[in-house]
Amino acid sequence: MLLLVEAGNLLLLLVGWGLVGLASYLLIGFYHERPSAILAAKKAFIMNAIGDAVMALAFFLTIAKVGSLDFSTVFDAASSGVLSDTVVTLLALGLLGGAVAKSAQIPLHTWLPDAMEGPTPVSALIHAATMVTAGVYLICRTHPVFEAAPDIQHLAALLGLATLLVAGVVALVQWDIKRVIAYSTMSQIGYMFLGAGIGAYGFAMFHLVTHAFFKALLFLTAGIVIHRFSGEQDIRKMGGLRKELPFTHATFLIGTLALVAIPPFAGFWSKDAILASALAYGGALGWILYVGGLIGTLLTGLYAFRLYFYVFRGEPRHAESEAEHHGAGEAPRSMTLPALVLAIGSTVVGFLAIPGVWEPFEEWLEPVVEPLVTPSATQEWLSSLVAVCFASAGIYLAWRAFRAGRELVREGAIRDLLEHKLWFDELYDALFSRPAQALAVRLRDDVEQPVVQRGLDEVAEGTLDASAVLGRAQSGLLRTYALAFAVSVSILALVFLVVR
């Protein structure tokens, strides 16, 4: 991961990129006796391999056209207009392909929820805080390329928007505590893509940082909860933990509030800055992104607090004897201390960018990434107000549904659609996985076996037969030899006469 971030050229970045992917594969498959974990690990690796391959293609193009993979050389070539539009567009597209796969954005997003098969601390570290956000880093780091290909940059923003909405609605119906958080990760990275796609690099990176704090916090506290239930991850079997685990409850709530972007928690400052940038970006695109982003905050409020209510409020729904308990009461300090640190982070990191008052974070990034849009302080505060209203509405609706004991999405076609995660898995299965396997089997059974191998058998048997026939000639009978000799000589003599 550090190699990825500190790399000074694209190739080294790709090496780090691949190695974090490898680590991710190994860690998702950590419980290697669980078939689902191994499947998830393979899926994650292959999805990322697709991204890597697309990115590598872009690099080949770069080598052919620029002759170097050094950041500064490539950026100079991209921004000076030496390269044709097509080349820059393809290069940006390749980079975007890699970023989309790594950061689990549509259309290469389906691996992330499954990746929750890994141990929870792993989810906290690489599938929430660091590795999955590498795509955002990549876009920000290579922004001159994307600026030279604005269409692709807008595509990044739109993919981000699509992902944040899809992930938001799918999260509404999930029952697995870690999957809900995973979908929220996808959706938050969607915000980052949105920000990076309109050139608000500083805010995208800022959201990356704040998100790392509150998402790691959510995962770790979720880990405490799962530990409490001896590995149970279904939120329908939880409930009423507020009294039993007061500290966990408090920290989880902080994380949730930060996620939903309620002031003064960290997520508020970063997410609303991205939304304000969309507003400042203006035009049809800016408005689409802004409105979509607002709907996203509403969804965030809904699913995040649905989760919170299910786990911590209401009456305990788990039927178990006290003996099964992992010891009643709060988790051990080794689990709560990290949560405490992250909770503090989730609270104060946001103050690194108070619009109009104190904005050191953007200044830090200024030398490397000049933002394309800078919202005015008024826009920021105004947009924040609207966003908080949307988020609060989401919380309120979640609370009402919970009070009434209703699900957020009623039974029916829509719920069905959401529970199947919009059928993405099935679609890819039918479109790629199955045909690839069928092709492999067809090639093996219909081409390689009958044509190549069996054809060979016949040749081989033919040779054996021929040698058997010839072997029979080796009879050892002098008479036969003499006859053969005489016949051959006469034939040769005949041929000799005729040719002459």
Binding site: V15, A53, A436, L443
Partner: protein, 481 residues
């Protein structure tokens, strides 16, 4: 002098092993000693090898048939030195493996393996066409016997197909060699000029495509790699296939620039097709060795892409990837053999769940699998990247196919890893423990070399051709020194 020594030492050891009436253990020990001495010789030679020099090194030349212009002429350039290094290392690992498993009629067996190693070194060191042919044929004889006598249940058929294919290729090549040599009045590679004769060119091309193998010429591959003993399969796929690399880089490219230019498209298409075909077939093979066999085929297709891109990146990548693939596939065949011995079967359906309680085995399989799929950062990735960016300059389509093959490689390698290590615990998974010291001693050196190359791929790429300029070096070769 050293080159001659590198050829003679294994041959002499072969003779010694074969003649001396020693017990099975002592025979194996002597053979291993010979193989290790060879490795030591190579490593010692590497210290004095001047990789920056334009000159052939450790060369030796002796008139043989002066009338025909045939001479015993051997010598090494950088890329040859790496191929020889690959040979001696894999050879030593193979003999070590045979020693660990134990083979019937050990004197003949080890004698033949050493003979094979010596001939291979000869192939990679030849600087004379006919001498190359002699070694090329000499290396086939021990393979026939090793597969035909010590192979698996279908060994006769395997040997027969192998003989048919290689004979076909060899005869074409012999005709080409004679035609080429007679027309030029010499067989010395350095003195031979260029030729634009398509037929002579095709004779060489087909022989090397059979050896590699490339798509329509691969019929021998499956049976030979499955029926041979694992260590012979390791040498076959790891080293013998590289004779094609040597032949193409050192005979075809320098001496047939015109035909190469004309038919490059065809060769590249075949190579790309091989890459995809091998990868797809590897994805649905029922046993470990089947997967490695077709994966080998795919990797050879990739290497051919590098060679026929005929530019610096592609050629450097092809040499590096030859070394990588040799080590990885040899390592994998040995591991396949270990698994077959321990669990009685290499069929994936009967394996699974081996990771539990066997950390060393799991790590080895996982590491080799990751090298196979060329995870970024590995030396295989470096080779693959160089090859594909080289071939990109010949046409983006080839590189796109190559990139698709990256995904396919991930699919078959992960499937193989999971089928061996994870999944359900199947019937063949008897209570057999983890790898022991001897087995690790076989595989770990290969992995260690791969690790070194991963950290420093330029060790090979910058030291394969004088001045690190493969294309101009090869193009300049036909004028002679």
């Amino acid at each position: 002098m050293l080159t001659t020594l590198l050829i003679v030492v294994p041959l002499a050891a072969a003779l010694l092993v074969w003649i001396l009436p020693l017990s099975a253990e002592s025979t194996a020990g002597l053979a291993l000693l010979g193989a290790l001495a060879e490795v030591g010789l190579w490593a010692g030679g590497a210290r004095n090898f001047d990789f920056s020099s334009q000159e052939q090194q450790y060369s030796a030349s002796r008139e043989w048939f002066s009338d025909l212009g045939i001479s015993y002429s051997v010598g090494l350039y950088g890329f040859q030195y790496w191929l020889v290094g690959l040979t001696v290392v894999v050879g030593a690992a193979a003999i070590g493996y045979a020693m660990w498993v134990g083979r019937d009629r050990p004197r003949a067996y080890y004698g033949l393996v050493l003979f094979l190693v010596g001939s291979l070194v000869g192939v990679f060191a030849s600087q004379d066409l006919l001498l190359f042919y002699v070694f090329f044929e000499a290396m086939l004889i021990p393979i026939y016997v090793l597969v035909g006598v010590w192979g698996g249940p279908r060994r006769v058929k395997a040997t027969l197909t192998f003989v048919l294919y290689t004979m076909f290729g060899s005869l074409l090549m012999l005709a080409s060699i004679i035609a080429f040599g007679i027309s030029q009045g010499t067989f010395e590679l350095a003195d031979l000029g260029t030729s634009s004769n398509d037929w002579i060119f095709l004779g060489f091309l087909v022989a090397f495509f059979v050896k590699a193998p490339l798509l329509p010429f691969h019929g021998w591959l499956r049976l030979s790699y499955t029926e041979a003993t694992p260590e012979v399969a390791a040498i076959l796929s790891g080293v013998v296939s590289k004779a094609a690399v040597f032949g193409l880089v050192w005979i075809v490219l320098p001496h047939f620039p015109g035909p190469v230019d004309d038919l490059r498209g065809l060769a590249l298409v075949l190579a790309a097709a091989t890459l995809v075909y091998g990868s797809v077939l590897a994805f649905r093979q029922p046993d470990i060795r089947g997967v490695i066999a077709y994966s080998s085929m795919a990797q050879m297709g990739l290497i051919m892409l590098g060679i026929f891109s005929v530019n610096d990146l592609g050629l450097d990548g092809a040499i590096l990837h030859s070394v990588n693939h040799g080590l990885v596939s040899a390592g994998f065949f040995l591991v396949a053999g270990i698994i077959e011995t321990r669990f009685g079967s290499g069929e994936l359906a009967r394996l699974g769940g081996l990771a539990k309680g066997r950390p060393a085995l799991a790590s080895v399989v996982l590491i080799l699998g990751m090298f196979t799929l060329a995870v970024p950062g590995s030396t295989n990735f470096a080779g693959e990247f160089a090859i594909l960016s080289g071939v990109f300059q010949r046409g983006w389509g080839y590189a796109a196919v190559g990139a698709a093959a990256i995904v396919l490689a991930a699919m078959y390698a992960l499937r193989l890893i999971s089928a061996i290590l994870h999944d359900r615990r199947a019937s063949a998974t008897r209570e057999s423990g983890d790898l022991v010291g001897g087995e690790l001693a076989l595989v770990l050196p290969l992995v260690a070399i791969l690790a070194v190359l991963s950290a420093w791929p330029a060790l090979v790429t910058e030291r394969s051709f004088p001045l690190d300029q493969p294309t101009s070096f090869i193009a300049g070769q036909e004028q002679g020194p």
